[in-house]
């Protein structure tokens, strides 16, 4: 299997920590993504490492018994340590605050604390087997204040820090889940829901295991993922992942089913809005994208893996030593090891080896694994780092060896422009809202973010189309067809086409002498009017005379190019036409007499010169009451010429009333 085949990889720089062993306990906090290595109950040191922390936090604490759970509050302000089943100990890490430990016992009588979760820098939730207790920590007073509590039998719990939702498992079968949502000192109870367990013989008691549930945010929505080892429908074997959508308001709803088509041990991650399912038996993983089209049966959508199953890319562990010696050869890391622990959304921890990785998706290999270009684009457009890959796909499908058919190319362009248009619309409504003075509205307007999926005309031109059009090997018919297809797609989404795309079309047509084609495109206004385009056309006149007319028509339609029209006509010695044009639009009082007289003289047509000269005499008469030219007009030379040809008496006399 070549390296280009793996589409999942472990991050290059894992968080490294001391391996778990009898004297070193390792804890992971999902909220801060920190690993705690607690040696001898803290007495010989606690080392805390997070993914972004350059400098690990290390401290000591007294060994007051076995540590069951240890977590910092958000922003590492307060440390909470659970050592007994009734109490949690606190220690301030805020400068100027006392670092003496203080303790909180759970309020409910005879309850055992299952664990705790920080929901902010000073708010904490205790989960006991009899309910939950929501506290505010007052570090300066070294005490806690109970904000709210709720009594309920709890089998186990799960916390999703991104959405601040705690899920409690209740009932005997453990399959009724009660979510709570925390925000700024408030705790809200969301509607509970039941996870459908697979049908099982009555004798065996099947309950919902914590291991088979995960919570993750996918495309901005919170989902509860349930790994169902046996399908409920008897006709299909193999496990599946059931996605329950947990909205902020309203009931939880079963939405998607991901078909795994295999059985065994699985683990879930969510990376870049993709659900990754690892399968230990085959040591491979598959990915699912719930935004890709699946089979909808009226209530849920069934999805199959986007791509064939692949192993995570082999990973080499650099030989660890006190001072990492580079000469030592790296050791291949055992992937899918039974000592791996997987956390949401994208974390894989090997406690025995002392590593924490983030799982990553590699897009480039996927390009060759997904032959359906339309589906590939749908997939790529939803990924974070997609732009360069998308552009490379576009280049590839236009290349000689991998050329796609026009309908496929059209589909790809339409998908890109659909995304592009969505962004343009959002941007426009933002601008309009700002202009309308809603900038101080509440909540404040947010400028739409431009994701990498927005591939605009300039991206396409720079990275794909200009190189493609200049490729001499490419049949020009195909080049034109592709450019027109792109322009068609832009037009279909009502996106204004930039002139450089039109110029590319024109250049290609001109290079291959397809002037008549060009003419037809212009005739139907496929190439939008612009001054640069009109000038380009003018320059083509010597190769293709009708370009002159096309250019003039375009200038006329622009209606802001009257000066250019006059210049064009004068350069063609069409002095009378120029004068008639400028008079037609009412601009003849402001034009330079000298310019027209020069042009008329150049034609060596004396009658024309006479006509033009007389026109300006009349203008002078009308504007100033005198037919003579003023010195500022610099027409002396022409007056002299006029006299020489037609005689002094031909000059117009000032009319006196």
């Amino acid at each position: 299997m070549g390296e280009e085949d793996y589409y999942l990889e472990l991050c290059e720089r894992p968080v490294q920590f001391e391996k778990a062993n009898p004297v070193n306990c390792v804890f992971f906090d999902e909220a801060n993504k920190q690993v705690f290595a607690v040696r001898s109950g803290g007495a010989t040191g606690v080392v805390v490492k997070g993914p972004d922390d350059r400098n690990p936090i290390s401290f000591r604490m007294d060994d007051k018994g076995e540590v069951k759970c240890i977590k910092f509050s958000l922003e590492n302000k307060i440390l909470a340590v659970q050592r007994t089943s009734k109490t949690v100990d606190f220690c301030n890490f805020i400068p100027d605050n006392s670092q003496l430990e203080y303790t909180q016992e759970c309020k409910t009588k005879n309850a055992n604390i299952l664990g705790f979760c920080w929901t902010s820098s000073t708010e904490i939730v205790f989960i006991t087997d009899q309910g939950i207790e929501f506290y505010q920590v007052l570090p300066e007073k070294r005490s806690l204040k109970l904000l709210k509590s709720h009594n309920i039998n709890v089998n186990w719990y799960m916390y999703c820090p991104e959405s601040a939702v705690i899920l409690l498992s209740t009932t005997v079968l453990e399959n009724v889940l009660q979510p709570f949502y925390f925000r700024a000192g408030t705790m809200s109870k969301l509607p509970k829901f039941e996870i459908e367990l697979p049908a099982a013989p009555k004798s065996t008691k099947l309950s919902l295991s914590e291991r088979d549930i995960a919570m993750a945010t996918i495309y901005g929505q919170l989902y509860v993922l349930f790994l169902r080892h046996h399908s409920r429908t008897s006709n299909s074997t193999g496990a599946e992942v059931v996605l329950y959508h947990l909205p902020r308001e309203g009931a939880c709803k079963k939405m998607h089913i991901l078909k795994l088509n295999r059985t065994g041990k699985f683990a879930l991650n969510v990376v870049d809005n993709l659900v990754v399912v690892h399968h230990q038996d085959t040591e491979t993983s598959v990915i699912f994208d719930i935004k890709l089209r699946g089979e909808f049966d009226g209530t849920v959508t069934f999805h199959h893996p986007v791509l064939p199953a692949r192993s995570i890319q082999p990973y080499q562990i650099p030989m660890a030593g006190p001072a990492a010696v580079t000469s030592q050869s790296p050791v291949p890391c055992k992937l899918y090891s039974s000592s791996w622990i997987v956390f949401q959304p994208d974390i894989i921890i090997s406690a025995s080896q002392g590593y924490l990785w983030n799982l990553q998706v590699k897009l480039q290999p996927i390009v060759n694994l997904l032959p359906d270009k339309g589906r590939l684009m749908d997939f790529l457009l939803q990924r974070k780092e997609c732009k360069m890959v998308i552009l490379s796909v576009c280049s590839q499908m236009l290349s000689e060896s991998d050329r796609a058919t026009l309908p496929v190319i059209a589909t790809v362009f339409d998908k890109l422009n659909h995304e592009y248009k969505k962004y343009l619309d959002a941007e426009q409504s933002y601008v309009m809202a700002v202009e309308a003075g809603q900038s101080r509205s509440n909540p404040p307007l947010k400028r739409p973010t431009r994701t990498q999926a927005v591939v605009d005309q300039s991206d396409m031109y720079t990275h794909v189309l200009s190189a493609f059009a200049e490729n001499k090997e490419m049949p020009h018919k195909f080049v034109i067809a592709v450019l027109m297809e792109y322009i068609r797609s832009l037009n279909q989404f009502q996106i204004t086409v930039q002139h450089y795309l039109h110029e590319l079309v024109i250049k290609t047509l001109v290079q291959h002498n397809r002037f008549y084609m060009l003419h037809q495109f212009l005739q139907y206004h496929v190439l939008s009017d612009s001054k640069p385009l009109a000038c380009l056309l003018l320059s083509l006149e010597s190769f293709y005379p009708p370009a002159h007319q096309l250019s003039l028509d375009m200038l006329k339609r622009l209606s802001t190019a009257n000066d250019e029209i006059v210049e064009v006509l004068l350069s063609k010695h069409q002095v009378l036409a120029a004068l008639r044009f400028i008079r037609g639009i009412g601009g003849h009082d402001n034009i330079s007499a000298r310019k027209f007289l020069d042009a008329a003289k150049q034609t060596e047509d004396n009658m024309l010169f006479y006509t033009i000269f007389r026109f300006f005499e009349q203008r002078n008469q009308r504007l100033r009451g005198n037919p003579n030219f003023t010195p500022g007009e610099h027409c002396e030379e022409h007056v002299a010429f006029f006299k020489q040809v037609f005689g002094d008496q031909a000059l117009m006399r000032p009319t006196t009333f």
């Binding site: 018919k477 003419h519 096309l550 028509d553 036409a577």
Partner: protein
Amino acid sequence: MAAAAAGAGAGAWAAQEKQFPPALLSFFIYNPRFGPREGEEENKILFYHPNEVEKNEKIRNVGLCEAIVQFTRTFSPSKPAKSLHTQKNRQFFNEPEENFWMVMVVRNPIIEKQSKDGKPIVEYQEEELLDKVYSSVLQQCYSMYKLFNGTFLKAMEDGGVKLLKERLEKFFHRYLQTLHLQSCDLLDIFGGISFFPLDKMTYLKIQSFINRMEESLNIVKYTAFLYNDQLIWSGLEQDDMRILYKYLTTSLFPRHIEPELAGRDSPIRAEMPGNLQHYGRFLTGPLNLNDPEAKCRFPKIFVNTDDTYEELHLIVYKAMSAAVCFMIDASIQLTLDFCRRLDSIVGPQLTVLASDICEQFNINKRISGSEKEPQFKFIYFNHMNLAEKSTIHMRKTPSVSLTSVHPDLMKILGDINSDFTRADEDEEIIVKAMSDYWVVGKKSDQRELYVILNQKNANLIEVNEEVKKLCATQFNNIFFLD
């Protein structure tokens, strides 16, 4: 045919007057090099209509033309004579290829009056025919021949005089019957192309359709697309398209209109399983694709005869009002399988596209609103793209092109056009015709516009204003000088 012309003349009866329209007297093609010596003159004649004419008369007539051309060449070596006016008829000369001469003799229109003693008096109207109109008709004869047969020279190379004569005979025997000399007018001079007005988006869809079809039927060399007998796209060069357009709109399409109107021949076909129902059918080539014996013979056409000289199959395929011409290199053998494949690929898509165009066209018409019935009768022509627009001509039928104005007015238009041809400058000519009609001709750069106004007691200034108004509404998006 000349003999029958008198009978065919559908002259209007007016005060004991009988009118006979112009008619074709004779039409011949010769090459003076083929029989330079005395006694061999007959060899010069490549084609002669009517064929029944006695040999010596043929030789005499050809000789006369040769002499006239030779004689006039002395005065104007670069521009030999184009026509010869006589009392009874007019002769038109054309040398389309070196030393190959085509001559058309047209009898002037006749008015037959009853004299007082009851004897008919025949009056030839010598000044009625316009040289430019009939010269253009003659040139068109050649262009049409060349489209279907290639050049004279090519025939000579392929099979000598014998082959050339055969081809000329085969082609012109039928073609001359379709010349309707009585209804030739300004439009024959222009030989223009009527373009279908279309919005950008629909046009781009058509582009996309054409490109896809050319890709999936990868042997197609050129494509042309028409809707409602008006051109939308031509992959052919302008001159070739001009004559092909003429053939399609005056010959091929009209021949298929009647069966369409009768509702035959255009069934929705759904025999092919999994296929979209569609209205597509071949106007050239096989009539019934289910008949295994069906012949896949398509007309051959010749294009780019000046340089690459290409011989092509002409496939014309139509669905509703949309027609596509696919042109394929003639060396490729077209099979029934190919035709079926074309039908299954093109048929459904063209059907959808045709209804799209129709719908879009109706929407655009509604939006612009003002495009109801123009109050003006005008003819517009642009030499640059051959675009032609006439509100004077009714729909063309295979037999005659109907105009809605009096022939005298049409003649004025022709006269103005002749004036325009003489000068390079932009011009404007306003003519007051009889019975309250005004005729205005405008020429701006490469464009010509002819307007016929009928306003009681209008004066020159008012007429000028009216024309300005017309230009502002109909031609505001082009550079057309007032």
